[in-house]
């Protein structure tokens, strides 16, 4: 697959579709651990991004193929400039780093650029949000995502993103078991144990959407928690993270 601007444009649109479909679930999650505006903020940002994307060169039906960085840069700009709350702009930082890595890689996105972008995004979120792994934040999805990609070695971008999605999903399952230490959830202590972090879920949605729109959230963490407690289940290998076919809400082969 050529991971050019058409690929990243489709990825951004599928991400918007995923968030649009799962927004009620995201909002419900955030009501339990935050102030309930996460799903809406994400959706507003993506709706605006799609509007910008539709009016730009390389939109469906227009002749030019944009570089892979183009749609990611647009998404970064919208999230940093226009989305309220804290988590929207923090997502913007991740998009900004993905876009910068894609820009540096050239017109076509590479697996190395995906790894570099997630890694730089993770570093930026840690610097700004001052969150450590285990604090029950989006860091807990970004870190296993980059680890999964790095461990696999050189790959095409779409394959790297599938691995990132698997890593992030395992991270989401982990956050359900964690006690929050930062952000609003930090004040809630044990009351939010058992609920995954919405920001981490958003990160997993982002990477999973590269393969197609995600239609339901709940099987992710519920099954993830169950599996994490079953002895002998292989959770750390790349294969366990890329099950795009069964019950994950991601249609295979898109």
């Amino acid at each position: 697959m050529t991971c050019d601007g058409v690929f990243t444009g489709r990825w951004v649109r599928w991400f918007a579709e995923s968030v649009s479909t799962t927004e009620p679930e995201l909002t419900d999650l955030d009501r339990r651990v935050g102030d309930g505006d996460f799903g809406t903020n994400l959706l507003v940002g993506l709706t605006t991004t799609i509007r910008v994307l539709d009016g730009s060169p390389g939109a469906p039906g227009s002749p030019e193929t944009p570089p892979a960085a183009g749609p990611l840069e647009m998404m970064a700009g919208v999230f940093l400039d226009e989305v309220g709350g804290t988590s929207g702009p923090l997502f913007g930082l991740v998009f900004q780093e993905l876009a910068a890595a894609a820009r540096a890689a050239g017109p076509v996105l590479t697996g190395a650029a995906v790894e570099q972008g997630i890694d730089a995004g993770l570093a930026a979120v840690r610097r700004v949000g001052e969150a450590e792994p285990g604090d029950k934040t989006m860091v807990d999805a970004l870190l296993p995502a980059v680890t999964a990609v790095r461990r696999a070695g050189p790959l095409p971008a779409d394959r790297a993103l599938a691995l990132a999605a698997g890593g992030a999903r395992r991270g989401v399952s982990e956050t359900a078991r964690l006690r929050a230490r930062r952000g609003r959830a930090g004040y809630l202590g044990d009351r939010v144990t058992g609920v995954p972090d919405p920001g981490a879920v958003g990160v997993a949605l982002l990477f999973a959407s590269a393969a197609g729109p995600v239609t339901a959230l709940s099987p992710w963490w519920e099954r993830g928690v169950t599996r994490a407690h079953l002895p002998g289940t292989r959770l750390d290998g790349p294969e366990s993270g890329t099950d795009t076919g069964t019950g994950a809400g991601v249609p295979a082969g898109r």
């Binding site: 309220g84 900004q96 949000g129 001052e130």
Partner: protein, 332 residues
């Protein structure tokens, strides 16, 4: 319940900024789209732009200190809400010098995050950026991890000293070092006898009994660890000054700058009386107060309270404090 005269809480900030910029049109320019105010006549010769900002409701902070000798730009957020990172980014781009921009940030999570996001974006634009964090509130001093001390009234002193250093052509690392040195040497404590009223409803943010004083209140009305019974002023001031001196431990030859800051609804009559009593107290403790400022600098809407700030100085910081300044609030 207290009635605000402004009956449109939604437009209060925008209306106030309009008025402020009209009155001080000789000193400040508002970029409404960018969401910041900048100095009309910034100091010539600065190599680094100085940007601060934070939630509104603390006037005259920060907008009243924009001008030659202090801030190049200020970003007001909504009442008690951090400015958006875009405001900070736009302001920083507008006033960055050839050697970049320095952010002066009060230590609150929202401000740290939004200034931090702006700093990340500035890095992508190739504009050097550094941060001085102001964390002077002794009431929030704790050992071990946590959010650390809050940033309060010392902010204006830090902005003054850094502004003068920037005027002398200090570069970014020099300003950062100076900023860290002076923020380490200032502490504040605030008390209130009545909370502020919320602009939207006029209701008090918290209740205090008639004869109680909230000891260690925050500038957003954060409750203190304790309320104490009302007591003679000299005794209350001892209770505030002694821990400040203990935390700062000025050497004999190190004079201090004293800031007596009204939180919104204390009369000037009282503020000067407070100043007089603190001066006597400092003298008794063998501490020289080399400079002092009395008035409203960092407020909490209409809170009936005041804060004391001490900054321990050396010759350099005193010179920087004395250097010329021309802003809506401070001019010398």
């Amino acid at each position: 319940m207290v009635a605000y005269f402004a009956t449109e809480p939604e437009s209060l900030l925008a209306d106030a900024l309009n008025g402020f910029c009209r009155v001080h049109a000789d000193l400040v320019v508002r970029d409404a789209g960018g969401g910041y105010l900048r100095a009309r006549h910034p100091s010539p010769g600065r190599r680094v732009g100085l940007v601060s900002g934070g939630g509104s409701g603390h006037e005259p902070l920060h907008i009243g200190f924009v001008g030659a000798g202090m801030l190049d730009a200020a970003c007001p957020g909504r009442v008690f809400t951090s400015p958006h990172n875009r405001q900070i980014l736009e302001a920083s781009r507008a006033v960055a010098g050839p050697e970049g921009v320095l952010h002066i940030v009060k230590n609150y999570t929202g401000d740290r995050i939004n200034f931090g996001i702006a700093a990340e974006r500035l890095a992508h634009l190739g504009i050097p950026c550094a941060r001085v964090l102001v964390d002077d509130d002794l009431a929030t001093a704790t050992d071990g991890p946590g959010p650390g001390r809050r940033g309060t009234a010392a902010t204006v002193l830090v902005e003054k000293v850094l502004g003068a250093a920037a005027d002398r052509g200090a570069d970014l690392p020099e300003l950062l070092r100076l900023g860290e040195r002076v923020t380490a040497r200032c502490r504040s404590l605030a008390v209130a006898s009545r909370s502020h009223a919320l602009p939207a409803t006029g209701d008090p943010a918290f209740e205090l009994a008639r004869n109680e004083v909230e000891f260690g209140v925050g500038i957003h009305g954060e409750r203190a660890e304790r309320a104490i019974p009302r007591e003679p002023l000299t005794r209350l001031l001892e209770r505030m000054t002694d821990p400040l001196l203990a935390a700062l431990a000025p050497a004999r030859e190190e004079p201090v700058i004293l800031l007596v800051n009204g939180l919104g609804a204390v009369t000037e009559l009282e503020l000067y009386a407070i100043h007089d009593a603190v001066e006597r107290l400092l003298h008794k403790r063998g501490v020289t107060s080399a400079r002092c400022a009395v008035g409203e600098f960092v407020t909490t809407l209409d809170m009936r309270g005041f804060s004391l700030t001490l900054m321990v100085t050396d010759r350099e910081t005193l010179e920087l404090y004395d250097a010329p300044v021309h802003t809506p609030v401070w001019r010398w």
